[in-house]
């Protein structure tokens, strides 16, 4: 498990108040019982944490936690190589 994934979990657990254990790759945002405000706040917190931008146009494509982590890892790698 990567440091990025751990940080994403920290932020989701803090904002959504869900159990860390449910954050498996196939977990959906419904599984986390996250409402739309929770989701926006998670995205904003991640943007600030990693210094990247996650526009809604991208965020709307995430089906589950696994997609989300893969996207974040790609974006962070992109930023690192820029």
């Amino acid at each position: 498990m990567s440091a990025t994934e751990e940080t994403i979990k920290d932020i989701i657990v803090k904002i959504v108040h869900c159990d860390r254990e449910i954050l498996t790759p196939t977990a959906t945002f419904q599984d986390m019982k996250a409402d739309s405000l929770d989701m926006v706040q998670v995205l904003v917190a991640l943007e600030d944490e990693f210094g990247i931008e996650i526009p809604d146009e991208d965020a709307q494509k995430f089906q589950n936690f696994g997609d989300f982590v893969a996207y974040m890892q790609a974006r962070i790698a992109e930023k690192g190589s820029a």
Partner: protein, 260 residues
Amino acid sequence: MLKDKVALVTGSSRGIGRAIALKLAEEGADVIINFFRRRQAAEQTAKDIESLGVTAKVVKANVGDPEKIDEMFDIIGSSFGRLDIFINNAASGLPRSALDLDTKGWEWTMDINAKAFLLCTQRAVKLMEGRGGKIVTISSLGSHLVLPGYVAIGISKAALEALTRYLAIELAPKGICVNAVAASLVTTEAGMLYARVAKEQLGEAFPWQTTPAGRLVAPEDVANVVAFLCSEEAFMIRGQIIIVDGGTSLVPFGFMSTGG
């Protein structure tokens, strides 16, 4: 009419904010497009504005965060050095009843819809100092009418309208005009999303299929009034809430098809 003016429109990637940005650009103003979540839409708005022969600048900022407001105004200051028009349009909120509204939802809505108006105005005035300016904020009928699931937004709009009056008087000696435009349901993505929620709660009783004027309010209807308030013709209008609703708020018991 607004040639050589610099305008900031918060939340202008889409909806009412986009229509206002385009209208001010048509009148000749250079426009700063602020967005929070929709970069592609903001860039499209900027492109459409530039095609009108004026300058557009895209600035990302969550206006619910005071630090991000400061960063946005620092960029405006260094890019343009001044501001003539500030349109406080960005808004957010969750459809909740009062008993379901938690502190997180309250703070989120109040920060973006009401507090941001104060903090942005404090920074905008510094860029208008000595030259005057126009400030218009976007409100809604929910500031004084009870709409389904609208409690948090309604409260924030009421605060914003009160602030409009106080600012109008405090900023009058600086030659800055402050007013608000309050619309009923507007045919935007956010407006239609809200309409769906309200319809679920009200069913057939949902009143806003149209207005006495024969159609729903379009973003351009709001933009036209905002542009007028930004003109010199509106100089003596201060601290007013101009309602743009096709007459909706005058008919609390529904539409009278006979006209009386």
